[in-house]
Subunit: 302 residues, 2 copies
């Protein structure tokens, strides 16, 4: 099933990525803008590849309620700036020390550590600038503040991305237990994916009950995605993934296959995706894209 | 005059710093909150000293129009989180490589580079979370978005703090001309100080004409402050400043005394402070604190 699913969904994902990339192109300062090095580094990192998963999830969550919600595409694209900031910093020598990302030299390998650190900061800052930018819709200001607040929490230290990164970093040298691993995955990856779908729905004026369902979808998909990432490090090849593999084991990183084994991890991921799809049952065929994306995320791991 | 002025203003500055620090204490996660290392690093860096200049300027600018403006103290304190983020990252080995800040070991010397990078990111993120936090004043939502946008621009790459840092970094190895130096100072230091006073005034519902005056005050004070900083690197001692001195010359950094000489730099700084005070003439004695702070900033350099 997985190869077929991936082929069937690819044209849709490619088209979505083009739409998001066109908006990002508009958000980023031109490559020639002064000072050039940081703008080139920002663009290099953002356009070095990537599926645009978070923007696509955000936009699809919004489309479930209002396909033409003003600001939906801008919000979705700002999320990718934040995602890229986290990747640039994660790859730094002081953190994961990666030379390769999506098949290309990492940002600090091309522009040096100093510019890479600042380019990461700049993408995070530009994301907030974008989210707070003047808009033609004064009615939406309450919602926009709420979205900024939710995103900042999702990437912060208390159960958010930075919290997960710190615990991940510190659990590298010693074997982590399953509670720690679940914290890392929920905080480092899950919280931002949850915020992506929730904020997409908020822009489209979804009701609280809808947000609750999308919260569940986001949490389940986020965890499954991270388990899939762990699995691909074991099952994938450098050619397939465009980055070094078998790093988790070599660094004694806490992972799902490491703690639970490959088969149990595959079962858990598949179960989470089933549950995530089930949560959206109420929306019928309107939510089919969100279900397809969920299944797509674990397609290479079984 | 300068020694007397400093003594006269010190009790006021100490009291203001206490008020700001109490609010920051409230904004930061407790030191024992999980994951502890990043929260300890954030607190270490924020509470390692510092004059709280930006919060005090912000709060005084607000008091000029409405001393009880809700959210003024919170905004002022959030600015210090951003300032501390910039210091942590500036001190990193890949950037200025400083071991000492305000007389204490720098954040990365105590917590390691990885945690220092993430702690800087966390302070920036927490600042935006704070600025967007739910408030009891729905009328102020338009203003709060405007403030978030203005601050993000002031610390961004196009004429903002990050832009200034990049050009500063890249001008280290070669002699910079006066245009480049003015860009560095205006972008790296000036833009954020300008935003601090403007946003304080915005929270207090200042009119556009008032904002224009405070913009001028902020720009002049910001540049004078940076010239004073350059001068102190030449004139001060490690004991006086709590950090390494004569670093600018050793690193061939672009500075005012390096380009214009010490005496001309002192004259330029004093002239800027006179002009900044002049801009506030309209407000009479109500603006006296802002004038005193301006004079205080260059008090050790003449």
């Amino acid at each position: 099933m997985s190869a077929t699913l991936r082929e069937a969904l690819q044209p849709y994902l490619d088209e979505q990525r083009s739409v998001v990339d066109a908006e990002i192109e508009h958000l980023l300062p031109p490559a020639g803008a002064y000072p050039e090095s940081i703008h080139r580094a920002m663009r290099y990192a953002v356009f070095a590849g990537g599926k645009r998963l978070r923007p696509i999830l955000c936009a699809e969550a919004g489309r479930l309620f209002d396909g033409d919600a003003p600001g939906l595409l801008r919000l979705a694209s700002a999320l990718e700036l934040i995602h890229t900031y986290s990747l640039i910093h994660d790859d730094l020598p002081a953190l994961d020390n990666d030379d390769l990302r999506r098949g290309k030299p990492t940002c600090h390998r091309v522009f040096g550590e100093a510019v890479a650190i600042l380019a990461g900061n700049a993408l995070l800052t530009l994301a907030f600038e974008t989210l707070a930018a003047p808009s033609a819709d004064p009615d939406a200001e309450h919602q926009r503040l709420r979205i900024i607040h939710e995103i900042a929490q999702a990437i912060g230290t208390r159960g958010g991305m930075l919290g997960g990164e710190v615990v991940d970093l510190e659990s590298t040298a010693q074997a982590a237990d399953s509670t720690t691993l679940d914290y890392i995955h929920a905080a480092k990856t899950g919280s931002f994916i949850r915020a992506a779908v929730r904020c997409g729905a908020m822009v489209a004026n979804a009701a609280e009950a809808d947000l609750t369902r999308l919260t569940q979808y986001g949490e389940k998909v986020g965890l499954a995605f991270q388990i899939a990432d762990d699995l691909l490090d074991v099952l994938g090849s450098k050619e397939m993934l465009g980055k070094a593999v078998r790093k988790d084991g070599a660094q004694r990183k806490a992972t799902y296959p490491g703690l639970h084994g490959v088969e149990a991890s595959q079962r858990i991921a598949a179960g989470l995706i089933d549950e995530a799809c089930e949560v959206l049952a109420l929306y019928g065929s309107r939510a089919e894209r969100l279900r397809e994306i969920a299944r797509f995320l674990i397609a290479r791991t079984s």
